[in-house]
Symmetry: C2
Amino acid sequence: MSDSPTNTLITWVEVSKNSDFTIYNLPFGVFQNKRLSPRIGIAIGDKIVDLSILDQEGFFSDMFLPEGVFLSESLNELIALGKVITKKIRERVQELLLADNEKLRDNSSRGKVMVNRKEATMLMPVKIGDYTDFYSSMEHATNVGKMFRDPENALLPNWKHLPVGYHGRASSIIPSGVPITRPKGQTKDPETGAPVFGPSKKLDFELELAFITGKPTKLGDSISTADAEEYIFGFVLFNDWSARDIQAWEYVPLGPFLGKSFASSISPWVVTLEALEQFKVESPVQEPEVLDYLKCAKSHSFDIQLEAYIQPDGEKGSKVSTSNFKNMYWNVAQQLAHHTVNGCNINVGDMMASGTISGQERDSFGSMLELSWNGKDAVKLESGTERKFIEDGDTVIMKGFAEKDGRRVGFGEVKAKVLPAK
Amino acid sequence: MSDSPTNTLITWVEVSKNSDFTIYNLPFGVFQNKRLSPRIGIAIGDKIVDLSILDQEGFFSDMFLPEGVFLSESLNELIALGKVITKKIRERVQELLLADNEKLRDNSSRGKVMVNRKEATMLMPVKIGDYTDFYSSMEHATNVGKMFRDPENALLPNWKHLPVGYHGRASSIIPSGVPITRPKGQTKDPETGAPVFGPSKKLDFELELAFITGKPTKLGDSISTADAEEYIFGFVLFNDWSARDIQAWEYVPLGPFLGKSFASSISPWVVTLEALEQFKVESPVQEPEVLDYLKCAKSHSFDIQLEAYIQPDGEKGSKVSTSNFKNMYWNVAQQLAHHTVNGCNINVGDMMASGTISGQERDSFGSMLELSWNGKDAVKLESGTERKFIEDGDTVIMKGFAEKDGRRVGFGEVKAKVLPAK
């Protein structure tokens, strides 16, 4: 259909040249504003298409959608209708936004349907069931291994055989814009070696992408890599806030806990798998060969540029990292196949994050831990300000977008300001 | 009130001598049967008090409860009303069941209110938000350390300073009675050292108790040990199924993942904190002294006997472990204070499990890993059958109860049969 790579699509909506929200993207989100209660929309340029009004006006009447499905505080019920339906909805909106389609363009309801994005508050797009964080960038895992374990054997023996991951805390995942509070906790005093309590001194971000599952499985069932994409609804930017000093003291032997669970921030617009399909690139060669259940017949890697910025209070934002989602050693189909190979069931609205995505060069590392090499080398911002970790008053911003043949599909941003510990 | 340790309470309901569900207990659960849709009840003897009927008949009319609050598929909405209300409901039921109270005893609706427990199917009591598993028994952590790390330094340096825990998978927690399927996964071949795929060869149980949170916190807020019990609604038995061979290969450095996430089984009746209050005992001495935020002004430890049984197909059940919840080094108030000290928010219906509860003697170890010392010594069942780990067709049953001054408060059981891998 209209997403075919040979078609150039032109819309009647004004979309600036560098907008992430082009006619090729059309991500889903949940918004409200002073007048409107929470509802589901699709972003285009500086506008939001209010799907609830579009529905009221009969634009989806041939789809027999459940009443009020767009007047929801989350996408879960909508996603649960299945990809056949959500694809149809997105395609219908795309048709309606085409320059030569007069149905909405010249309709008297157009003013009500098109909401200003600036006036809207974006809410959490989904009610998250379980949240999993992977550890799928080889460069990140290698950097961490070099710093904390053996530089000669930085990757642990299991790393190239399975996509290492762990369960994370779902309750503290928050949408972009909500500030975070510097966590307090127990750390090991580097001088005395004794445990001490206080605000984290090594607050960090992690530059990640996360996917949201769109189809449930039953307990005991598994998903093959071939079927995995059927279970992925879309993606968001994911800042996996980390307190490195808390994490370092607590994580043996059961993994990260309070060093992570104080907050994770996500971008509010869910970019669909369909919109990202055209940016697929070959997956990295995996050597040694993986076990059969992790083999893929086709690529599940995406060329998505990722950027992290630090904006100290009263300064402009400064880019500190430029990475790419294609850097991932383990792809999303392998993650999902591995996650369910033991029969673990997934629900609509589960979130699975990539783990920090680092590239090979220093300026592509996806965390301050790596960028400052655990506080050894300060990172210089454009203003001259230096950072080893994140300070109170700093705002961390992440952006992500794919671009090819003049088509751009982006995530907008996820940002959050850091408030001092209570 | 009537729970005072000096009162002996007598009910008009027939309750057998060894029943866990005495007039002192009155746990909450969600049930259905052939005639009745899912609803909330309180167990007494072999009966369930159908709270929805009791409500319809006006027995709670002075409490102004939300309409249909008992006609729910989970306790979440009820629990969210707060302890003041749920305590009142439980106390009202206790009053109504007293031998000399004729209000229900002689009421024409009594037949409808009292449902046979045998004919009921118990459902998941709560819709679980996040699930956390602690590692709070010193004997268990020591045993595991001896087996897999250094027998001379079995406990890791952080263990006595904080209640180590990790996030677990909530989606795969199932109620007693639902069979589990032996998980498949990746393990390291002990002979070649190469990763191989197949059914787990070291399927294990873990004997645990879990508490359910009853009051939410906001992101950024913490709970003190002094306030912690306000946030605990009640407890269930928890079998944290584990695949030791999968876990051993995957768990470094981010903790247990697929070795646990295939299933956890819980007992369906939630025993309230109020019912357990009278079984409090002194908490173990903690040496070295813990940091201030983990100190407790009073005891939060409970004398609850815990038992695990293995029942091979066609045989009788055989007790393999007798442990006690008082064996926990870290108590529930410390767990909750630690969990939230970084500002991590909790919701109504979160589940926090203790970790395997082992005592000092071999026959009090809470897992086959410890009982068979990682498969070195087979455990002999009463029939003569031997077990190193759990075999296909085995049913694992756990029981738990407190008893003092002729009063018994128990959990019933959690049981699940193991089906062969698919």
